[in-house]
Symmetry: D2
Subunit: 346 residues, 4 copies
């Protein structure tokens, strides 16, 4: 049975999901769209035979919509839509960050727990990237011994004036905050954020760029992460896990290479996240749709959303306190509905 | 509207297509299956809610089936099913080779022309591989000047006793016979097949392995192709296009790399075509389904199937005549229905 | 005119230098050798027509010896030989570390300054590695804008029980302490050494392995360095300089690659420093011999030896104080004889 | 004892050898130089303290010269100098091609045999390249089973109007003619040269570019070689040996890589042979000097020079006869002085 999906928010990521749901996902149909920009909603509705809704609440309430994707900006707006979807008992996929505060995440968790079952999946798509999945499989199988260190970079071509120092954590490093502890299968103990004195000339007065983050896990794995959002060279994601018997690294798959008349042998660097993680986004959505058709959801949960937010809060506190080491403390009582083992199908 | 697809033939490739249609393609539903191995058909039918048909003709005739995929072996059996589908006016996707003779291809073409419109797509999936597509885009845009030479290899881990000398061309090199002239946008002039004296110890008495093929195009581009089907090292597809101002090469995307305790830095080689060309197969089917839903088909045609077969026939003749250069002559009258420009969406 | 070289110390590095001087360096002759292991000295003396000396002082004093190489272990023994060579006015090449204390370096500097000219070169061979040299050339030319960050690793297959926690800095990280500030053309401001909780099972009770070091330069470039001396996978040296307009990385040159029957494409990782930096060691010695024949020395100086030692002392202090940031303070009065611009010829 | 070397011919390669002998080779001294361009000879003589000779014969005859390097152009002039050196009993290194005809090579062989010992080494430097040496070591050790095929390219940035169609073989492919049979340890059976219809726009009327060569060995290994001397992209040497259990490939060592602000990850391609094979040329000369100091020569011989020439003659005949397969027939009687096993020290 085809799943009728409604998408709230049609910006950069929302538009990308529109095409994904309408054209690439098995068992899904783009049934409804909604955006403050009415003409954009009407354009997609016409193109893919979907219905336009005046607002997100109407879309969620509509009997024509089986499941909801929340892709709104600013991210503060996620919370109301996710909670409303939970209240009417519909499955809801929410782009990261789930909310902008740990308190907000907790409210969503409370609503979900009250309903007695998981309804929310958070858009941490890297867990569905073939590279990270292969690394996790090898780490879980202990193929190269215990992980000891991780070196990671999260680099982005450029950002505009609305992107400030805080967003390097909350918008960007949040992906590693999620994917690295998932990769290792354990929680963080503490973190630091260091602002190097020297910055790129391409940044602006409200953005300290680059930034250096460290995370230490409960078992003692040490992680360093470069966040550099004006690198000029591409969307350059790297992750190297140093284990006792081997070093596993994420690749940057390149489908062709070229030798050019400048004495260079070249491969391409992706321009943005939708190019670099196209397969991951597709896998993520397909997995979610397959799950929902079986009346369940097993991907990244509200709890994962909370873990990422608590981690980001600690990193922000460290940044504001001269890079001091800040403990990362999760709530003690992890609700039982989040205890199911997370598994992804490739 | 969801397309109800029936698959005839559930072997290695047929089973792969079953999962693709049932789980990964947007707008498609696995509606019917059919195989001489009844229990296999029943297994898939149960798993995906499809109907089992006693034979391919019944499946094609069924009102529950909108479009057909022919994946039967031996390949001689393709012809009857494809022609029957044409006769009842249904779209049909046929795995390569379309048939085993040029005469067979011509019969299919005649049937299709009689019906007045294209109904057939042949499974030359490489045209949908991101690497080949990127190369074609660059060549079409003349980014690196005129192509002069192509070096290609088609390597396979191993084959069994049923695979003989002729199959290196008809089963294996046929992919390059199709994709390379498509890449260059022109027809072949001639070809040769050379059987080197030295063979691998892993072959058997009925298979000369490896083999060396050359193809020259109308404009004079020279191609060499190694076909080696017992290479032991993986499914290793390479294609290097030497142009006047640059050399463009197909990559072997690797999602991770590992440094191991044998002083080695390693990337993986795919084990078979379904691993190497997973994205290509998915793109191919999605493109076909999207087309059929719009009552058309624009992928590789019966004519392309004929071109590949005529090319293979010339290469076989060369092989049997001491590697002499053999002309590759296509029929003069290319029917008008095949003149539409072939385009793929990524 | 051929330079008669005497080598004191014939261990792992000393033996490597014996072959270099005797077989690969233009204008040099192995004239004398000396080691506590008399038979080893006699073996090399016989093999290359050199003279055996009973002790280093005799070798230095001999009229048959034009220039001296000090390669003794333990490193405490360097100081006496270097100072004696200075006192008799002969050029002396000393393997790193120059001495084990800043005070020792200062004594050598004082002796050299007293003599009024440079006589000492320290064995920081990486400055002569084609990779580092190419990077420095590009950075000096500002090809990719200002450097902002450096990520480095210094990995080694394994160490024995005599190698303890302190040696990760003084024996290993000392190479980066020298080469990275040379690469950037500026001094360090501060450093930290962090001991991650999780260690490799291949270490022993007296060695904390791996360790994480950071260095910040005067201008604010931030450096992180992994020191891991039981990595099992090879001698794996990496250095990535993140600049404003590009990211420059040191390669691990591999002269061949192999696709093997384990579905792997492999390149080799060097087993130790003499394999990885063979060309660098050769360049270094050739450059030194060429210089000495012109009655001068322009490679890494006693001052560079002091800078490295002061840096190591700060890193050790940080390690012993819970990874606190420790200032790196060089003596104010850099003697004039060290002001000459250091240049290497490839 | 230092070897006094005289160099005849100070063009592109001669000048390169001048610097090598004077600055990088152990045990050698640049003692004499000679060139039609007198001022060039005087320049080098002054720079390195060598003597200028009026002509090659005087240089060879001089008691100040122990051993001779013949690097003259045009290559026809090699023969007289090499034979004169043999006649006066001095060791002589001659750049490839030894002469331009098989008859010329035979004359040199006759003179050498008459003298009763090897005095000549031919400049096939690739045998001293670390990459080819590693491949040969692995092939000799049968690490990957029997070799079956070789794919090679010999690409060059550009050539001028004096370089014509014949030189693609005699100047360029001659390197592979030598190194590939050495790599495999066996002689050739036959060869072909094919001139593809399509040529690069960068060629001129007297040069057919690119050209495709094949060689088959006695045991049946099949080789294809692209010779492309106006590739625009660099000096791009590739060699892939397909064996039964693995595929071994020559690398293009790159000491750094760069990610640039054009979304590219780049490594460098060497600009010419002296950059690509710098280490090979150095090894070759050092090996020759070491040998000569021991009154012998073990590198590529006059016989190897003859083998290369006979191979080139067959390839030229094939080229002039529509790419027909031409047998490669070596003289039956290989003189005993050439039977010594060729070995190189790294």
């Amino acid at each position: 049975m085809t799943l009728n999906i409604g998408i709230i928010g049609l910006g950069f990521m929302g538009s990308d999901h529109v095409k994904r749901v309408a054209q690439r996902i098995n068992g899904a149909k783009l049934a409804g769209v909604c955006d403050l920009k009415k003409d954009l909603a009407e354009k997609y509705a016409k193109e893919y035979g979907a219905k336009v809704f005046d607002n997100g609440i109407d879309l969620i309430d509509s009997p024509d919509i089986d499941a909801i994707m929340v892709v709104t900006r600013p991210h503060e707006t996620h919370e109301q839509f996710v909670i409303h979807a939970i209240e009417v008992g519909k499955f809801v996929f929410c782009e990261k960050p789930l909310t902008l505060t740990a308190a907000g995440c907790q409210k969503i968790i409370d609503a979900e727990v009250k309903g007695g079952k998981r309804l929310v999946q958070v858009g941490f798509m890297r867990r569905y990237d073939p590279g990270y999945m292969e690394m996790k499989k090898e780490i879980d199988a202990n193929e190269y011994g215990e992980p000891l260190l991780i070196h990671a970079t999260h680099r982005n071509v450029s950002v505009d004036e609305t992107y400030d120092t805080s967003m390097s954590i909350i918008e960007t490093a949040i992906h590693e905050a999620d994917v690295l502890h998932w990769l290792l299968g354990e929680d963080y103990e503490s973190g630091t954020t260091f602002l190097p004195k020297k910055q790129t000339k391409y940044t602006h007065s409200k953005l300290h760029d680059p930034q250096i983050i460290t995370l230490d896990t409960k078992s003692g794995v040490h992680i360093d992460l470069e966040v550099f959002v004006n690198d000029q060279i591409g969307y350059d994601i790297n992750c190297e896990v140093v284990c006792e018997d081997g070093i596993v690294r994420l690749g940057t798959p390149s489908v062709t290479s070229v030798k050019t008349n400048t004495l260079k042998n070249q491969t391409k660097i992706p321009v943005d996240c939708t190019e670099r993680f196209k397969t991951a986004y597709d896998n993520e959505l397909q997995h979610w749709v397959n799950d929902v058709q079986q009346n369940k959801v097993t991907g990244p949960s509200s709890w994962d959303g909370l873990v990422a937010m608590v981690t980001c809060d600690a990193l922000a506190k460290s940044r504001d306190n001269n890079a001091e080491r800040v403990a990362i403390k999760l709530p003690d009582n992890k609700p039982a509905i989040y205890e199911d083992k997370v598994t992804q199908n490739a």
